[in-house]
């Protein structure tokens, strides 16, 4: 099996979307983006590729069929996408997470895995959602996420995820006793596309680099797969793609945003938790989000200067 890696690949979904959105000017699209945050819920139904699941996926599980197959990979490498009229000096992308809105539906995780052909198992992901729970009388939280087997939909071979109902009726049984749950909340995580990315600093070949418009990208044709970047990322955003033998990370769907589309996770988020836009445009959703809210970043003491801005996160969020 000859899988040639390429970050700049175009999925079948892109091709479809591009055909549909081809006649939208960037200005029109940004206008739409502005309204997008408000009506993100409505977009979910239309945008989610997951609605049309059912057939066997390439890994043999029952689930969505939108991941690239080998032939599509080869084609994407042979004909890299053309991005007309995109000037990366004219954008500064940023991401917002309104944790108060997140319902932990995990559509974002599944959409990302489809869109970017991420490995379909619970131990590799470009984006994930963490669930934090305070039990009565405790100052620390219990945290779980998609890598907990209980949060995998049974029989789907780790292709579908759903938070289990362990905090049903605000009670939690830890095996010894039943405790009352004081509060539970979700926090979406993804690559922070840091201003000073540790992963870029440690990459021995320069295969991973900071793009002028913000995202940290990987040249998967040059990466040697040493995983030093995986070690260096304070946020656990990187992993190794085993079929390509190279590092793997979220790039805010760079192939989409450079065409005026939103990242897949933002597109499918039904509650508007995930907000994306251009910091150079003061009216973009993310500019407004940062302007109108008190925002925070994860682990500021690391000195990485993340570009994902959080609203409503707790001291326990790491």
């Amino acid at each position: 099996m000859n899988k040639i890696p390429s970050e700049e690949k175009m999925t079948t979904q892109d091709t479809k979307i591009e055909k549909g959105a081809g006649d939208l000017s960037r200005r029109d699209f940004l206008g739409l983006l502005g309204k997008g945050a408000a009506c993100a819920g409505a977009l979910a139904g239309a945008g989610s590729a997951l609605a049309s699941s059912g057939a066997a996926n390439p890994l043999g599980g029952v689930g969505p069929t939108f991941q690239q197959d080998d032939a599509q990979y080869a084609e994407a490498v042979k004909n890299p996408p053309k991005i007309p009229n995109y000037n990366w000096t004219q954008h500064k992308w940023a991401f917002g997470v309104d944790a108060d809105r997140c319902i932990g539906c995990l559509r974002c995780v599944e959409a990302c895995k489809m869109e970017n052909s991420v490995q379909m198992d619970r131990n590799h992901t470009r984006t994930w959602v963490e669930r934090y729970a305070y039990l009565e009388g405790s100052n620390h939280t219990l945290v779980d996420s998609i890598h907990d087997i209980k949060n995998v939909v049974p029989g789907t071979k780790e292709t579908r995820f759903k938070f289990d109902n362990r905090y049903k009726d605000n009670l939690y049984n830890d095996g010894k006793s039943v405790k009352k749950v004081e509060k539970v909340f979700f926090v979406a995580k993804l690559c922070n596309q840091c201003e000073k990315p540790s992963c870029v600093q440690v990459c021995p070949t320069g295969a991973t680099y900071k793009a002028v418009d913000g995202p940290v990208l990987i040249d998967t044709k040059y990466c040697i797969g040493c995983q030093y970047c995986v070690q260096a990322c304070p946020y656990g955003a990187r992993s190794l793609n085993h079929s390509r033998g190279t590092a793997e990370k979220c790039n805010w769907c760079y192939h989409r945003i450079t065409k005026g589309l939103q990242p897949a996770c933002v597109e499918v988020c039904p509650t508007g938790t995930r907000i994306f836009g251009d910091r150079m445009d003061p009216e973009s959703p993310v500019s407004q989000f940062i302007r109108n809210n008190k925002v925070n970043v994860l682990q500021p003491a690391m000195g990485n200067y993340p570009n994902v801005f959080y609203k409503g996160i707790d001291k326990e969020v790491f």
Partner: protein
């Protein structure tokens, strides 16, 4: 196809990031600093004779030098086996990204191999010339090639050889320290992991390297002497005892200091460190400290009693071996332990090494056997024991 993905997935408890549950650096990365450490340690012993003129090390200095070279040949191999794209390994050398510590590896290792090759050649040139004249058949041709056309064995030429070899060894000492201090830097410079992120890491790596390298020399020296049915040199054994004792004492003090500092500073997540020590790396911790302590006690007693002869050989062998095991356990604790403690400091993973496969214990065993086989072949080619046999 995807089966290999699950090999490395580690069971976890507490709060970890999903991607962390696949431990990125496996047992191959445990053996890599171990092998470079043995290189550095063996080189130091050979330099004690070559540079500082300590005559008691004369019988083993050539052997130590060759050991260093044979192990150095295989130092990069675990890394190569670990890479996701091994055929691209030279990307890091052709187009190095200078902010990366790892980009320097090709240069550091390459420099050191060249230096060792040169020093070996200058040290053995007279022997090679002699062999090229006395041997017959194909081996004569081999030695002829190895002389590189330089067959002058006059006194002035041999003096020049000696002088150059000594200067190379002088460069080699900071080189060996740099090589191994650099490996410590690879880990110590990562701010993500509390267990690694220590300014003492390069020093700990360097000193433990000397300890394990001397241990290795003792073990090989005793075994080969027994194999060749030749007595070990008492002066050399005593010298090795002194170096080993010094190594153990300094390593244990620095390692203890590092632990105490981490615990005393008690930064956020220090509970995670306690859980790590009491959990996934408990056995390896006992091996690390137990091995060092055993070696310390035995060598101390021998130092006090002035043990000589057969008893010295037996007990020094045990001390050397237990130091080697202790340092191997220490490498495991650093490399694997560091990854078993989640970046969140609130979760633990338990790494289970594979037995067979590309990254497995079988490969580690093979890669660790290779330098011994190479050393066996190398000592067939070059007369490492000459000096000793002249003595007896």
């Amino acid at each position: 196809m995807e089966k290999d993905v699950f090999y490395h997935v580690a069971p976890f408890t507490g709060f970890t990031f999903p991607n962390e549950t696949e431990v990125p650096w496996s047992e191959l990365i445990v053996i890599y600093p171990y092998i470079t450490g043995l290189v550095a340690g063996a080189f130091v012993v050979s330099s004690l004779h070559h540079v500082f003129g300590m005559e008691r090390f004369a019988p083993i200095s050539k052997f130590a030098l060759l050991t260093s070279l044979c192990f150095m040949f295989f130092a990069p191999s675990p890394l190569l086996f670990h890479l996701g794209q091994p055929t691209r390994a030279f990307n890091a050398v052709i187009t190095p990204h200078w902010t990366s510590a790892m980009a320097a590896f090709g240069y550091v290792a390459g420099f050191y191999v060249c230096l060792l090759l040169l020093e070996v050649w200058f040290s053995f040139r007279a022997d090679i010339v002699k062999m090229s004249q006395t041997r017959t058949g194909i081996m004569q041709k081999v030695y002829k090639v190895l002389t590189l056309g330089s067959d002058d064995v006059s006194k002035s030429a041999l003096d020049a050889d000696h002088k150059i070899a000594r200067r190379l060894a002088m460069i080699g000492i900071p080189g060996a320290c740099g090589l191994h201090g650099y490996v410590g830097f690879l880990f110590g410079s990562l701010k993500t992991r509390e267990w690694w992120s220590s300014d003492l890491m390069p020093i700990i790596f360097l000193l433990s390297a000397v300890g394990s390298g001397v241990g290795l020399l003792i073990v090989i020296y005793v075994v080969t002497s027994w194999w060749r049915k030749k007595p070990t040199d008492n002066g050399a054994m005593e010298g090795l005892l002194y170096v080993l004792w010094t190594g153990i004492v300094v390593v244990m003090v620095i390692e203890a200091l590092e632990m105490v500092q981490m615990i005393y500073k008690a930064r956020e997540g220090v509970e995670g460190v306690f859980a790590l020590i009491q959990g996934p790396i408990q056995v390896a911790m006992i091996m690390q400290w137990g091995g060092s302590l055993l070696a310390l006690v035995i060598t101390s007693v021998m130092m006090v009693n002035g043990t000589k002869g057969k008893q010295l050989v037996t007990w020094l062998f045990i001390s050397g071996l237990s130091m080697m095991i202790g340092v191997l356990a220490m490498r495991w604790n650093v490399v694997i332990g560091g990854q078993e403690l989640s970046k969140t400091m609130r979760g633990l993973m338990t790494f289970h090494p594979e037995v067979f496969g590309r990254e497995s214990l079988a490969v580690v065993a093979t890669l660790f056997t290779a330098p011994f086989v190479t050393l066996y072949l190398a000592q067939k080619l070059l007369p490492v024991w000459n000096e000793e046999e002249h003595k007896h």
